[in-house]
Symmetry: C5
Subunit: 253 residues, 5 copies
């Protein structure tokens, strides 16, 4: 799992718990019905907004994004330049026997080996990249949708509590505690949205961008192999995808 | 009807009712005049924003989107590849006798049979896709417009109630209940917008995107048939529109 | 006048009046100084934001949009196909004598009759469409600007009232009524923005889109006439601009 | 100076002063420390957001925009058509002796006289238009940044005042006046943003658009002169930049 | 360090301190637990949103942006025109021995010396510019993310404080001070976001735009050298990147 995410989630939660516990009993912050309104309302709108399949998928996508490790771009460049060297010496056909881990690179190389035209390969691969990005965006949208719904249902719950309190305002001593309970849903909604849903949506967006960059790198590399580009020139070109400090060949200059 | 939407709408409503009932009498949450302000104001602005025809259409579009079933992309690919195979063996003319369910695919094939040029067919079909998307967007805009108006009129109703309460503040005991009633319009507006209008607008957007993807798939497929593309290559190309797990031909590799 | 707009404006206003009157005297909702702050502040910012000419124009544009009737796209298609038939039989020159109501279509046909090149006509007409859209957007911006300013000055007025009330809080009995008056500006601003300015801005946007679609239709049609397109093919192509149910020729298929 | 802006600024300020004075002494609306927080905080963030030079420039740009008069597009068209006529009769070289007021038109004509190629001239002029627009946008951003900062520091000031009041709440009679003072910063921030900064930013945007349109007109005109376009055809083409009512040649038809 | 930023940060902080101290003891504005919630919550979400590396990088990027001096565009133009003159007289190869400070210009010239084709050089350099901009955007996003999170956790902290206060409302005298403490987190969040995070994010955006403009200038200049453009023409073209007053060659006209 991505370490920064873990630190953020655990640290943020611990911090809030500390702040709550330092003020006395934590029991006053627990209200089952408030949790039901916020969590239930958020889930309900997610079901209306998206289809069953998409909700399930988005959870999988998020888990996958946090657990699976993304390829490091330097390694991809290394591998692509390596394949370019092999193709230069022994021809494209030999690439078929090369062990390639990345499934997208594997597929792209297979298209080359099959002898498709460069335009077709470029079109198919770029469409694939575009559509992968669109699928990832759906996952982010589910989390973003939850981040929008949670504060809204927090406010709805608080309004319900306020109406109940104001309509039956017989005992002045109960006003304070009743209002405390009414505010809890707003608090739950704010925490869920700002500590969990919205940051996770942002993280997914970032992971998706990184994967998109990796895939664009592969597309450029494979097109270079097809065009018979000089591997050294190709390495230099592909390294423009990296921040200056992580570049190898330019450094040597 | 789309099951997720049904679950969301019924579940969310049930949840809110439970929260309200658990706090005692539900009667204090009923105010006919509050409902009139929120619902009436929302409907009034929808009529100003859009034309008569568009309001009626948007309701139809929404109902249609929830009831009608969208074609599954895999089946469309299957059918298009099938047609490509037939066209390859027996020529384009034979396609006229093929039974085609999807009206858009039917129309596209008819253009091929009529012998129009590829550029013309592409132009007409792509314009059709664009304009369908624009029409769908109008339906979403109506719901989005209601989602914007409902909280605004909720606030207007609460302000009206507050002014009435404050201007005639003779009996301190009546302040609480009066304010409870004043808050009801804000509550109504928040529920209408966040549980119904905005999620439905999002769902329509999603359905529209799916239909757009299906139609783009058909456009690509029909253009492939016209160009006499190898059906196996075409299947591979069209399957890039699907998430990796749902692909058939690539899986076999 | 556009019926839906009329229903919305009158109905929404009637509804609010009912809600106000049902709570007793309507006099407590009238405050001349509050009206001055909201209306005056809104108008002042409109004058700063836009130039004299634009403010006057935007009122004209709005009136015009509500009163004048837009051409129905089906009739435009009918007329263009008609002209195409005439041009096919008797040449382009004859079109000069045809009575054409729509001034934009008239102008486009005149360009053809004058013997300009197709590229020049397309360039001039498309520029005209773009610039018309830009001019319409200015009208919407004026209303949108008022929709932003009205709630802001409503809040400013309420703050002024609150400061006056709080600074001279000698008689507890006057607190309620003073606050009621202070809240009136917020109420006025919310009603002006949400019932009038913002919906009218949206309506203008919609009208502008419809007019843009009509003009694009004319541009496509006139270019088709110039290219000597088969009128039946042209009708089919132009009807992709319409929703499926309103199409004539495709229906006959 | 632009009259509408003057009317708006003076009128809006007068209106607010009237509303304040009608409520009794205006002294309760004066708080030097509140002014310091709002004005100082706004200026501080402007200095962080932008560089010294840009802040100074934006003030100059704003003054310039309000004082200097923009060329009227009709006059530009007149002048360009005039130059086209001269160039047609006596050749491009003669244009050098023509007195041209507008510096951008002067520069464009000089490029023609110097015998540069049409592509080069178009590239240079269009780049110039784009970069002028970018420079203007910076001026708007400074005012927009102040419009965002003023209400934020208004809220910060009010929070500071509230904390001070609540922490030392010994004399109940002082609560009202203390809160009145605390609210003043919010009031100042709202007035500064809504009556001054945001409308001025919008006005600058509008001026910039008008200047962009004038310059695009010049670019099109000069390219027409280079291509030796018929001056009458050019006049017609350039007039599509104007609203229909302001067109001369088309009117004559 | 950038002077305007320093003035803004120090001035704004001093101003707020003055306002706070002028109201009596500053101690009432210090709450360690409030600081923990706002700062801790903000940092926690930053860790969830971004990866470890990115958080560290963004701090470096910000420091770098404030300390390092950006090349002045006039000097770049001077240097490029100088190189163009040398290349014209002695050929491209000689450029290798020229001392070039700017690393991006150095790299671009090296590509020319190496004899790559113009298309390849343009593609590589433009990709480099695009990707540099993307890397800079990440730094801004980190600060913008903190600017969004700080007020949210300010509100969360205030809600926690309010719930604690309301639930244990036994001593009326403690209500004021408790509420003052509860409001502190909102105040901290507002100050952090509006005085530090958001303005810094904007400053980074501006720096990034300036660097982008410098690099685009270099790309255009190097392509001009490759094409053998007349240095005087090139100087004129490159100066369109500058505001009119800073131009040298055009001024001489």
């Amino acid at each position: 799992m991505d370490i920064a995410t873990l630190i953020g989630l655990v640290g943020g939660t611990a911090l809030l718990l500390t702040a709550i516990l330092s003020g006395g009993s934590a029991l006053m912050f627990v209200s089952v019905s408030s949790m039901l309104i916020v969590a239930g309302g958020t889930i309900a709108t997610v079901f209306i907004r998206f289809s069953m399949v998409e909700v399930v998928n988005s959870v999988k996508v998020a888990l996958n994004a946090f657990i699976s490790k993304l390829s490091v771009p330097q390694e991809i460049i290394q591998e692509v330049v390596n394949l370019a060297n092999i193709a230069r010496k022994n021809g494209l056909i030999v690439l078929e026997q090369q062990p390639i881990e990345d499934p997208f690179l594997k597929k792209a190389i297979m298209y080359c080996v099959d002898g498709h035209e460069a335009e077709f390969i470029q079109e198919v691969l770029e469409k694939e990249v575009t559509l992968t990005v669109e699928r990832h965006e759906l996952g982010q949208r589910v989390y973003k949708g939850m981040g929008d719904a949670a504060p809204a249902f927090g406010m709805i719950g608080t309004l319900v509590g306020l109406v109940q309190m104001l309509a039956t305002m017989d005992d002045p001593a109960s006003i304070g505690p009743s209002m405390a309970v009414a505010l809890l849903t707003t608090l739950y909604g704010a925490i869920l949205a700002n500590l969990f849903f919205l940051p996770i949506a942002d993280k997914l967006a970032l992971r998706s961008e990184e994967e998109e960059r990796n895939r664009k790198l592969i597309v450029q590399g494979v097109l270079g192999i097809l065009r018979g580009l000089n591997p050294r020139v190709m390495a230099e070109f592909l390294e423009t995808f990296l921040p200056p400090k992580q570049r190898a060949s330019t450094e040597e200059r």
